[in-house]
Symmetry: D2
Subunit: 337 residues, 4 copies
């Protein structure tokens, strides 16, 4: 942390800041500029984080230098984290394809989707049983019944399953059936849920909050790790901007940025990230080209009859088409599906 003093700060004010730092067990290093004094702070991240020195008299600005996360950083672990579930891998050159409907509807729907995406090359099956919906008047998911249908469909075709956890009180039940637990965008800073999800002993897909920075996403991942799991998969799914021709603005730059600063794999959800089915294929390919460790794609046998998020779902044929484009590009990039 660097503390920049105002142009006219007095010696006394500088001394006061230095004393406050020393009282907190931190070191201070003065740098006298032409107009301004800058105080470098030396010591533990934990001690530094909460010091409100921005309001000490004579202080103009406080600038953090160290990254605010630790266990998820590349500095903590240099090699890529590779996550393996029932033979399907994410990270370290492995490109995961997670496919399935927005929400689990019926046994038949799940059977149809599961068979098709497995055959087309998907490596994980997804489906929502507990659905967070902006409107209380929208379908809220089938709950535990949906989860069981999902698990059954996954087992039948031999694909590990991914589903969202909404309520800490459902943790045990969800962990019993799900292979990978998903934390949704609206809960990215539900720290209670993050800690619990981390404690389940399962890999966790952490979706970036649509209002969260890449750095905050990494800090949220740090909570999951603190909760007990080092198997975290980051997921870019679009952020809120002024652009209104897409549901969200898919921020693909997150892939190389997070990959540079963290050892965790980064996947992309182009379905929620764009909200439009015709954008899913080009954005999936772009994600692969930008270095993503996988994509999560919504697939439904009949999108116009989907109970949820139809407009952004691929039908079965379009998903096969997408896989036919992903394969040769992955080969050129030396990525394994």
């Amino acid at each position: 942390m660097m503390i920049v003093m105002k142009a006219g700060a007095t010696e006394e004010q500088v001394k006061h800041v230095v004393e406050r730092l020393e009282k907190a067990g931190l070191g201070a290093h003065l740098s006298q500029g032409e107009f301004k004094t800058v105080i470098g702070v030396i010591g533990d991240r934990e001690k530094i984080a909460d010091l409100p020195l921005a309001v000490a008299p004579g202080v103009e600005n406080v600038i953090p230098i160290q990254k605010p996360y630790k266990f998820v950083s590349r500095e903590f672990r240099a090699e890529d984290t590779v996550i393996e579930v029932k033979g399907s891998k994410i990270g370290g050159g492995h490109f995961a394809v997670i496919a399935g409907p927005c929400s689990v509807e019926t046994e038949e729907q799940m059977a149809k989707v599961a068979e098709h995406v497995k055959k087309a090359g998907a490596t994980f099956l997804r489906g929502g049983a507990f659905k967070p919906r902006s409107s209380p008047y929208s379908f809220q998911g089938l709950g535990m019944d949906g989860l069981k249908l999902l698990a059954q469909a996954g087992e039948r075709v031999g694909l590990p399953i991914v589903t969202e956890l909404l309520d800490v009180r459902d943790l045990d039940a969800v962990a019993e059936y799900a292979d990978v637990i998903q934390i949704g965008t609206r809960n990215m800073q539900n720290f209670v849920l993050l800690l619990e999800a981390g404690s389940a002993g399962k890999p966790v897909i952490l979706k970036r909050g649509f209002g969260a920075t890449v750095e905050e996403t990494l800090m949220a991942a740090e909570y999951v790790v603190k909760g007990g799991s080092s198997q975290v998969i980051l997921c870019e799914r679009g952020i809120r901007t002024f652009e209104n021709s897409t549901r969200n603005t898919l921020d693909l730059s997150m892939i190389p940025i997070a990959t540079r600063n963290s050892h965790l794999p980064v996947i992309v959800d182009p379905s929620h990230g764009t909200g439009k089915n015709y954008l899913v294929a080009p954005m999936s390919l772009a994600a692969l080209a930008a270095g993503a460790a996988g994509v999560m794609v919504e697939v439904h046998p009949c999108p116009e009859e989907a109970w949820c998020d139809g407009p952004q779902s691929l039908d079965l044929e379009s998903f096969s088409d997408l896989m036919a484009k992903i394969r040769p590009m992955a080969a050129v990039l030396e990525r394994e599906i």
Copy 2:
């Protein structure tokens, strides 16, 4: 809902959409433009909400016409909701002043703040016991001990207390001590928590998500009402934008917009909304002038020693100065404190 067909849509495609609507128990009304056909949908909000007709063949766009919320709307209830707790009122011409530290630290700190803000004219005492922090390395609050200290300080000076609920499992304990339950910005779309908070029989302050629109905030309030409480107070606390000289961009337009569309009172948190102590006073006055039903302001005996959010806290004297400016302006506007 209006369904706009593409310029070249066939009669068959139009017919298909109409059939889908009728199958869902909805009426259809065709409007033939020069280039495009528009289909008006007639029927229940609940039935309309989930129809994924945007992906039906020939459809260009689906445009909602009805508001997605009901119980919180002005159409449902024309008069302002006025909330009264132990004699302090919010809404309907009453301007509430909610003041107190970001986090409860010690008995002495709370006693000092409580006495001072009460004397200066505050009508509620606030304080955080369970703190949602972006970093797991930041102070996370004193928990139940903090809540008890807050309740004790409030009781001593005769002010109702406001505190944040983070975990559904803490509901009973929080409801036992708190007069008003606060839902934080990061949990605005934690629908599980919204429903539970609504069930506690206490007024709920719902902070707008920093990535949420005004409409989504009203939809989140609808969840609280559905949970059981009609005593919801909306709170603007800044949204995420590209502007970086403030922590968030305080969107004061929310006040007249939400007040026009909803009967719920709207208050403003200029401390989180700006992140800088010198902006708290001008933005509080602006909130009052724009028609807010109150402000929620962070006050600390010594901001530069605060365990949390010091840079945006007022010290005791600055809070008194602010109250001295609020009073005459409230008088001119015929608002009661």
Copy 3:
């Protein structure tokens, strides 16, 4: 400027940066942290501005310390700049009310508006003759004819006039008629136009770009000053955000921020800033309460027949109502209209 070296930066890399600074005529001051070295740069703003040291080997980050503007800063001039045109004042406790139609349409329309707003208490008359429109199919303004109609209406009622300059080639003509030259939001970083506008010897209203930060707005003002005019009025008019219930998000925090960092007056345009007539009055009062030096409001005798921006224009009666609310609040705040 502070240059933060990476955790593993070598001595050689540090030396290289220091040498680059010295070669550019700048001083370097090393600060050795526990993990990282920080190099403070000492010297002229001009020399520092363009150094691309972020890509020198071993550099992690480059952090500016000095403000990037000079003549518009409070440090350069401590007292408020007060601008006076034909007896009407802006700044230093004077609250200006600039009113008039979005675009000049007819002599009759201008006469009606001018008379009414003058009587109601406006201190400037505005009107667009050259209109920047997002669509080439929208009305583009009456040009020089419009400008003459505006000037004539202003003269008749004794109000100085404000109009927008779009094209550097129109400068002389516009400067001949206008009392205050306006630079629109879309041209805030049209640096060619800024320099020319500054050379005309007239006060300049500089509208903040809807995608520009407060700091960039001050830098744009610095261009106008460099062009020759120290009479610059900053104008907040809303920024682009994800919120879609308003045309833009009016960022009233800009008022106290810019006022703290600059001696220039800051006014607010709630018409463009919100896009809705019913938000103009509450946001005007909020601007006044937050410390604005004035408001610029669109007024039209019959908004639903306006050739441009009708939905955000006040009719004559609503403008009178607004003035009736502004006056007592200005009195309480000890501001002069």
Copy 4:
């Protein structure tokens, strides 16, 4: 255009709106919903564009149905526009690589870059002679001298050149030397400049404004076409969002969206779009995968000595590396460089 009336709108209010439409030479088509009446408007885009019916009594909302642009739309021209300059092509399956320094500095610098990028496979040479800079204290470009150096370097290696036009008064001079005229992000809504640039008889690269939507970018392109040129190349270069780890957020979704709605080619500038050299390669590949018609990349012999934008420039070797990755991926995608 659809006009949605309020729930309680009277027959008279509906009649009033219909009369206003008819007076403007437009047709009206009523659609009576359960709660609300919707009026469909039939007629010319030009006549509809400016009608301020949102403020007519009883009107709740006005919803545009037609696209606000015409000549640049796919509906106007179904086939891709392919632009060819001195043998280099953009659009219709041709992938252009535009490379060169942010600003022209010296003859030697230009010679070095031009030779290198040509050999590595670039198809256009870029360089800034007139530079729009946020700060008046930053280097503003060499002007005409720079332009001549650029033209000379392009000619020597046989690459057509691209350079930015800032001032309408420079049009003839710039058009004499440049093969392609660039309009910068800050001038995307400088409509005067757009019309003039369109009149020069040269292809125009139109950079998206960092605060502009895709639709507004297409409307700006419509201005260039109206000015006289149908040879417009759209360029995505990042938009302003809250994310602060990149200079801007590169919105790659623009590629498939604009390509679907317009026949114009869309290229991407990952240098400005990210602001960081290590993001240029992954984002270039992602742009190609998403369907871009080209990339524009900043290349400098020694980025850390660049007079402008060094941190986002590739050095010569990195550019060769990038080309080595682009080629096989273009082959897989059946794109020609």
